[in-house]
Structure formats: structure tokens, C-alpha cells
């Protein structure tokens, strides 16, 4: 009990938490800028400056607050708070499963924000967001299970410091995770509820009725989320820091590549293919590991 209290009070953990809260949006925003620049290049455009997402968000904060009802902003605030909280859990090395459940809570608030407005476009976006959540949830949990099977712990701290190359034991789980990463990063072909790129649709699903500062919060929450899910990619290669960082970046670029090359799927295909791919890649990997161990 005492050791745990010391651990919590120790500056290390607090420092990490603060560092995440401050740095993650910078990294996330920068990644988003790179994303836009790179996407533009893929499409033969020049693209905005890398810092454009920050300019956008600052501008959004200066805009007038326009709302449909009183409570819609509150849900988004909770979404942001719990996304940050999940990220903090991850980066201080807490329990991976707990982080997943906390992230699901954040996602639920986002969906409820969409429902609460009572607008048809938002409603549809929210319904689709639920479908997306249901599509990726099994694979996220299986990722945690796979990592537990290899390292014997659900603690991010232990998994990150493990010298075992996780990727060698969990190739299927990694493939499955890459698949649902596309959903998490809101990339085509799985950007059903709202596209990552604002220019791709006239009415942007779940965020239709959100504007100004609230939209900025959604954007910032997405930056945190991006850093968080890329952190999970890092864990697969945690045995070598440089390799891990390289692969994480490569994964991100790969996702942009996928984004550029696909049109949006229908929700049936999104849902079905996610569960199927989870079953084929993830479940088989887990079962094989269970039999071997």
C-alpha cells in the first residue's frame, strides 16, 4: 500500500502525466499537419503549412459560440476530459484494459453529444460512430490480451519495458490492430461517422451541429487520441526505442496512404470486415499463443 502511494506521489508519474497533457496536442497537431501536407502531395496539390491545424484551432476558438441546445457542449467537454485521462493512464504506465474502458467512456460521451442535439445528420453520425465503436472494440481488447499473454502483465509500464519483441509473437494481433487503427484515426475507408478531412464532405456527420470553440475541442481530443493509439503501436516494438519510433511513424504514413487510396465503405462492410479480420488475424493469434504457452 505504501509503495503504491509513494509511486503515485513520485514525481516521475506526475511528470509523465503533465508531459502528456502538454506535449500530446503538440505532437498530435503536428502529425495532423504532416497528414494534410502529405495527403495533398498524394493528390498532386501543394497543401497547407504544417502548422495549419494549430492555426485552425486558434481560429475556431475565436469564433462565436453557436449552439442548438444547452447540453451539447458539455458532452464534448467530457469527451475531451476522458480522452486526456485515458492518455494519461497509458503514458504513466497504468493498466492497459482500464485505459481501454476509460477510452470507451470518452467515446460514449462523444456519441451522446451527437445524439443529444436531435439533428438528423448528427443522429446518423452518432449511430455510425456506435457501429464503429462496436467494430473496433473487440480488436482493442484482444490487443491487450495478446500483450498480456506475451509479457504476463496488463501494465503499460511493464509491456513497454519488456525486452521480448512483441511483434514476433503477435503478428496477427498487430495486423488486426492496424486494421482498426484506420477506424480510430477516422481515415477512409472507415470514416463513416465523420471524415478526418473536413473538405471531403459537405455535412460532417457527428460534428454537424458543433462549431467554433466546441469543434476545436473535438479536434484537440482527436490529437490526444492519435498520440494514444500510436502509443499502442509503439508497444509492439518496445524492445528497441528507435525501431519502435520509426515503425510508429511508418504506420502513421501507411494509414495516410490507405486513406488516399480508398473510397468510403458502407457501414455493413466496415462492421463485417472488422469483426472478420479481428477473428482471422487476432483470434487465431491469441489461440495459437494460448496453446503454445
Amino acid at each position: 500500500m505504501n509503495t503504491i502511494q509513494q509511486m503515485i506521489l513520485s514525481w516521475g508519474m506526475l511528470g509523465k502525466a503533465v508531459a502528456f497533457v502538454l506535449l500530446a496536442p503538440l505532437v498530435g497537431g503536428l502529425l495532423s499537419g504532416i497528414d494534410r501536407r502529405l495527403s495533398a502531395r498524394f493528390q498532386g496539390r501543394y497543401g497547407p503549412p504544417v502548422l495549419q491545424p494549430f492555426y485552425d484551432v486558434f481560429k475556431l476558438f475565436e469564433k462565436e459560440r453557436i449552439i442548438v441546445n444547452k447540453f451539447q457542449d458539455f458532452n464534448i467537454l467530457l469527451f475531451l476530459v476522458f480522452t486526456i485521462f485515458s492518455g494519461v493512464l497509458f503514458f504513466i504506465g497504468a493498466d492497459l484494459l482500464l485505459m481501454i474502458f476509460s477510452l470507451a467512456l470518452a467515446g460514449t460521451f462523444f456519441v451522446l453529444g451527437g445524439f443529444c442535439v436531435g439533428s438528423p445528420y448528427n443522429h446518423l453520425g452518432a449511430e455510425r460512430e456506435i457501429i464503429q465503436m462496436a467494430a473496433y472494440e473487440p480488436m482493442v481488447i484482444l490487443t491487450a490480451i495478446g500483450m498480456y499473454q506475451v509479457t504476463g502483465s496488463f501494465k503499460v509500464a511493464v509491456i513497454a519495458q519488456s525486452q521480448t519483441p512483441l511483434i514476433l509473437y503477435l503478428p496477427g494481433v498487430f495486423a488486426g490492430f492496424l486494421f482498426i487503427l484506420t477506424i480510430k484515426l477516422r481515415k477512409s475507408p472507415f470514416d463513416l461517422s465523420m471524415s478526418h478531412h473536413a473538405h471531403q464532405e459537405i455535412v460532417r456527420g457527428l460534428t454537424t451541429e458543433f462549431s467554433g470553440p466546441t469543434l476545436a475541442l473535438i479536434e484537440i481530443a482527436h490529437w490526444y487520441e492519435t498520440v494514444l493509439v500510436l502509443g499502442i503501436v509503439y508497444l509492439f516494438f518496445g524492445f528497441n526505442v528507435w525501431l519502435a519510433l520509426l515503425v510508429t511513424l511508418a504506420t502513421f504514413i501507411f494509414e495516410i496512404f490507405i486513406d488516399m487510396n480508398y473510397a468510403r465503405f458502407r457501414w455493413q462492410l466496415t462492421f463485417g470486415s472488422s469483426w472478420l479480420f479481428t477473428a482471422v488475424a487476432g483470434v487465431s493469434n491469441i489461440i495459437v499463443l494460448g496453446l503454445v504457452k
Binding site: K70, T108, L112, I287
Partner: protein
């Protein structure tokens, strides 16, 4: 021991009182309230009085009682047979007759040689169950005081048998206390049958065709369980001469396995696992207090109670693996079916079966961590589910529908009730609340022993999130303009109950480390000689989330609701064709109202297709379970 006997006999006394006192007697409800307070208080007293003690066994001279029970059993059986012959339900007649002949024959041929040392007992598990039955059961009865008059106003065609109804409800509670305190398996069986018959009569309360069908289905399925139960008793006595629950665990595995499997089978039927799931979904025709009672604190919990009691006998056998899988199949298939349901009560029913499936699976795994989470699941589920049922019961009369699609803008029409309902729903699937904590622990328990179950859990929780979130979104969407608030028509009896249960949903989450330390850990130490190590850091994080929500949510809601901000208000976006906020200009200048509907994905998660799969798979598993136990 007196407390145990009191808990069994007191509800019986109240039920007789309910039957005898005239319906319009002014003090009736006051007596009932008093009885409910006593029913809550005694289990709490029991908890604190025995906090430091281990299990206690009590001897009770039982010849007279045994004969009395036999007479009652025969009388009930005779009534059931008479009634089913009259309704031309010959399967019921057959099942009841087989059961009667088995038990009476057994009593006459071997009854005198049965040596029962301890008829009653009590350990931490019984106390947990007693608390659930006492507190939640009586809360539901309290709700009934307000609900039943309204029920009869809404259904003038139903014959007013309110006295009989109250009699059955309290009789049910009495029988439940009997089940959890009986160490003598014959007694357990007796109380078990009483709950079966009570549920039969309660489900058929409306006395129309639909409810009679449902009632007979419930009866048949539970009688199948009962018949197998009685075979198990006879086999157990003939092979080992034992008739006590605690001794069953010490009997040689080869002899005890088959009876244990029989008892577990009866438990599966009672807790509506596949292939028996249809009786519970059919039971929805009954008045709401009945469904709440069946689903949360009594009937189905009796099933998992018995399974958890006999699970140690099956430890590490193939039969236990089959039990785990049956639970797993019930868990995932019903969670998927729930996605396709728009009838609120059916969604709740499927979610109940799903959660019970998880408990059964935990019993099959039977490690200290699994049992630990099973007990937490029982507690959390009982509280949150009873709350949800009672909410839906009220909504049904206020809106005139129990369909989720009719619950648009519920937060505007019944704001307080919706808030309570949100607490219940959050309790069922959101992060810091009970069910998800238990799932979190269950997942950890499964990972080590059975990765296949962990996978089922991963998919199942995705389905759970799906159907709860879309329902939650439905009730909290807000429309422009005013909606009629209908809340003033809800009686104080109902409000009191909802208040108690809503507070309890939050309180059990906050108190779970305490419950674990004082009640569940001692029980596990008794069973396994060790307790699962809980990561204090994780508990701390759960608390941070919980406290965060408890502080942020009310403050935030107050801030957003009551502090007027001069934000610009606009209507919703309707493709640019707004007429006002709820209608838009359609083709050929027509006026179209907007309508918001949820996805139900019938094509993928249709009830019929998935239930058939579930029934087929689980039947196979059950046959394997009996097969391996018999050889």
C-alpha cells in the same frame, strides 16, 4: 439461527397477512412498508453480526418439517396437474407427475434413512444473497404499492387479484431466503419448486392467452430443470448417502460429479441460459414488479447461486469446461440479439441472460478470481437491472409504449426519470460503474485459464456497448420547443424505490473494495485458501474516474442548465430546407417532419436465427456435459 428462520418465515407471515387483510384496509400499505424495512434491516444486521465469523451450520429437528414440506409439495403438484389438465397442457402434467413420483417414492423408500446433520447454514455468500433479496426484493415490493393500482387502471380487463399478487411476491421472497439458507438439499429443492410455481402464477397474472402461454413455457422449462434436480438428489443419496450441500463438496468426485451436473442443469434452466432462454423473454407479459423481481434479485439469481455452490465439485473437469462454454455462448449470443431488439423490456431481458451467462462462465472456470468477479457481477447486476426494469415500467404507462423507438426526447418529457435511468444504464456498461469493473476482473480471470473465453468476452462487450449506447442516445436526445412534462403523475412509492436503487447503484461501486475485503474475501479464503490480489492502483484509478464523474456531472449539468449564457441559438441543420426546427421542405414543396430512428441490424442479429444457433450449440454442450459426467 433465529435470524435465518425469521427471514424465511417473516415474508411468509407477511404474505399470508396480505392475503387475509381486506384490500381497502387503510393500514395495509403501512404494514407493508414496515415489513419491507424489516426485510432490509435483518440481512444488514446479519451482515454486521457475523462480520468476523466463518460459515455457521445449524441443526434443526426436521421430521415434522420434512413431512410438512412433502404434504405441501404434493398439494402443489396436485393443483398444478389439475390446472394443466384443465388447460390441456399435457407436457406440464407429465413433467409434474414424474417429479412427484420421484420425490414421493424417494421419501417413502429412503426418507427414514436420511441423516441430515445440519439443515440450515449461512456463510458470506448466503449473506450477500440475503442482502440482495432483502433490500432489492423489498424495494420492488414497495414499488408495487404504487404500480399495481395504476396497472389495474390501465388494464380494466384484468381481474383485480391484488391481494393474491402481494401474497405471491412475499412468498417468493420467503422461498428465496429458504434456498440460500438451506444446507439440506431436500429443503433447497422444496424452496426451489416454490419459486418455480410462484413465477408460474405471477407470469400468468393477466390471465389472457399470451400470458398463459408464457407462464406455461416458464413452468415447463423450470420443471425440466426440477425433474433433473430430483434425479440428481436420488442419485446422490443412493451413491453416497449424503443429503447436505457442504458434504457434497467432500464426497468422492466420481460419485458427486453427476449429481452436481444435474443441479447445475437445474440452475441453467432457472437462470434462463441457452437453451432455456425463451421463458425469461416470455415472462415480460407480467406486471413490471414481477419482471423486475425475476430478473434482478430472485429467480435467475437462484439459478446462478446453485451453480456457484456446486461448481467446486466440477472443478477442472470437462463438465466444468462445458459449463463455461454454455455460459459463454449465452453471454455472446444474447448480447448480439439485444442489438436487434427495440422492445425495451426484451433488451433488458436479453441483457440479463447475457450477464448471467458471464456468471455461469465464471462458475465453470472456478478460480478464486473468477468466483470473485462472479459475486461482484451478481451484486452489481441485481441493483442496476432492477432499477432499469422499474424505470421502464413507469415509462410504459406514461408513454403508452415500451418500444425504445417511442422514447424520443424522453429527457424532456420525464427528466428526473431519465436521469435515474441513465444511472442504471451507466451501471450496466460504463467505465467506473459496477458491471464494467466486474467484466474487467472477469477478463483477467479468463485470460489465464481460458483464452477462448477472453475472446468471447471481447466480442460480447462490443455488442453490449452497442445496444446500450444507442438506447442511451435515444432517451437523451433533445428536441426544439417544449414537450409536456409528465412526471408529476408518478407516485411517491415508485419515486422512493427508484431513489433507493439509484443511490445503491452508485454506492455499491464506491463500496466495492469494502465489500470485497469484508465479505467476498473471507468467502474465497474459505473456498480456495487464498484471495485474488487486487491491484490497489487500479482501484484508485477507478475511484478517481468515479469521483470525477460524481463531481463533474452534477456541477456541469447545473452550470449548463441554469447559468444563462448569451450564446447564439440556432436550429438544427436540415439540408438548408428548414421550415422550423422539426420540419423541412421536401420535394414538391411538401412539409416533412424529421424522424430519428436507431439501427437494429435485424439482418445480422435477428432474434430467431441467433437463438437457434444458441440453442443448438448449448444443447450439444449440455449433452457432452452429462456424457462426461456419467462415464
Amino acid at each position: 439461527m433465529n435470524a435465518l428462520i425469521f427471514l424465511i418465515l417473516f415474508p411468509l407471515f407477511i404474505s399470508l397477512l396480505a392475503l387475509l387483510l381486506p384490500k381497502d384496509m387503510p393500514g395495509r400499505k403501512i404494514i407493508g412498508t414496515f415489513a419491507n424495512i424489516v426485510l432490509c434491516a435483518v440481512p444488514i444486521y446479519l451482515l454486521f453480526a457475523t462480520l468476523e465469523q466463518g460459515p455457521a451450520y445449524f441443526r434443526l429437528e426436521s421430521d415434522v418439517i420434512n413431512i410438512g414440506m412433502l404434504v405441501i409439495e404434493v398439494l402443489i403438484a396436485a393443483w398444478v396437474i389439475y390446472y394443466s389438465v384443465r388447460s390441456k397442457r399435457y407436457l406440464t402434467v407429465l413433467l409434474m407427475a414424474v417429479q412427484l413420483i420421484t420425490m414421493v417414492g424417494f421419501e417413502f423408500s429412503a426418507g427414514h434413512s436420511i441423516q441430515v446433520e445440519h439443515s440450515l447454514f449461512m456463510d458470506k455468500f448466503s449473506i450477500i444473497m440475503a442482502l440482495i433479496i432483502g433490500i432489492i426484493g423489498s424495494a420492488i415490493c414497495l414499488y408495487g404499492f404504487g404500480y399495481m393500482p395504476e396497472y389495474h387502471n390501465h388494464h380494466p380487463e384484468v381481474k383485480d387479484r391484488r391481494k393474491f399478487f402481494a401474497f405471491l411476491m412475499y412468498l417468493f421472497l420467503s422461498a428465496m431466503f429458504g434456498i440460500i439458507f438451506s444446507n439440506n438439499i431436500m429443503w433447497l429443492y422444496f424452496f426451489w419448486e416454490i419459486t418455480t410455481i410462484c413465477s408460474f402464477v405471477l407470469i400468468g397474472y393477466r390471465d389472457d392467452k399470451a400470458s398463459r402461454d408464457s407462464a406455461f413455457r416458464a413452468l415447463n422449462m423450470n420443471l425440466i430443470g426440477g425433474v433433473v434436480f430430483s434425479f440428481g438428489i436420488v442419485y446422490l443419496f443412493i451413491s453416497s448417502g449424503t443429503m447436505e450441500l457442504d458434504k457434497l463438496l467432500r464426497v468422492d468426485r466420481g460419485l458427486a460429479l453427476l449429481p452436481a451436473v444435474c443441479f447445475a442443469f437445474a440452475g441453467l434452466a432457472k437462470s434462463a441460459q441457452f437453451p432455456f432462454s425463451s421463458w425469461l423473454t416470455g415472462a415480460m407479459v407480467a406486471p413490471t414488479p414481477v419482471s423486475a423481481l425475476l430478473h434482478s434479485s430472485t429467480m435467475v439469481k437462484a439459478g446462478v447461486y446453485l451453480i456457484l455452490r456446486v461448481a467446486p465439485v466440477m472443478e477442472n473437469t470437462v463438465a466444468a469446461k462445458m459449463l463455461t462454454l454454455i455460459g459463454g455462448v449465452s453471454f455472446i449470443v444474447t448480447a448480439l440479439i439485444a442489438i436487434s431488439q427495440s422492445n425495451a423490456k426484451r433488451v433488458l431481458a436479453y441483457s440479463t441472460i447475457s450477464n448471467l451467462g458471464l456468471i455461469v462462465a465464471c462458475a465453470g472456470v472456478n478460480t478464486e478470481a473468477a468466483i470473485w468477479s462472479a459475486l461482484l457481477l451478481i451484486i452489481f447486476h441485481a441493483v442496476a437491472k432492477s432499477l432499469l426494469f422499474l424505470c421502464v415500467g413507469i415509462i410504459e404507462y406514461k408513454l403508452g409504449s415500451r418500444d425504445i423507438e417511442d422514447m424520443d426526447f424522453l429527457i424532456m418529457r420525464l427528466p428526473k426519470l431519465t436521469a435515474v435511468m441513465m444511472i442504471g444504464m451507466a451501471g450496466m456498461f460504463l467505465a467506473p460503474f459496477g458491471m464494467i469493473i466486474s467484466k474487467f476482473i472477469t477478463l483477467k480471470a479468463f485470460v489465464n485459464s481460458n483464452p477462448a473465453m477472453a475472446i468471447i468476452l471481447a466480442y460480447g462487450s462490443a455488442a453490449t456497448v452497442f445496444f446500450w449506447t444507442k438506447w442511451m442516445g435515444k432517451i437523451m436526445s433533445i428536441r426544439h420547443g417544449e414537450a409536456e412534462v409528465m412526471e408529476h403523475k408518478v407516485s411517491n412509492w415508485e419515486w422512493t424505490t427508484l431513489g433507493i436503487l439509484a443511490v445503491a447503484t452508485v454506492a455499491v461501486c464506491l463500496a466495492f473494495p469494502l465489500m470485497s475485503f469484508y465479505v467476498i474475501d473471507p468467502y474465497l479464503r474459505e473456498m480456495f485458501n487464498r484471495v485474488p490480489v487486487v491491484d490497489t492502483f487500479n482501484v484508485l484509478i477507478i475511484f478517481i474516474i468515479m469521483l470525477g464523474l460524481l463531481i463533474i456531472l452534477p456541477l456541469g449539468l447545473l452550470y449548463y442548465a441554469f447559468i444563462n449564457k448569451d450564446y447564439k441559438r440556432v436550429g438544427t441543420y436540415l439540408g438548408g430546407g428548414n421550415i422550423d426546427n422539426i420540419t423541412f421542405e421536401g420535394a414538391m414543396a411538401s412539409t416533412q417532419p424529421i424522424q430519428l430512428r436507431n439501427y437494429y441490424l435485424q439482418k445480422y442479429f435477428g432474434e430467431e436465427r441467433l437463438s437457434n444457433i444458441g440453442i443448438f450449440v448449448s444443447l450439444t454442450l449440455i449433452f457432452i456435459m452429462f456424457g462426461v459426467a456419467a462415464i
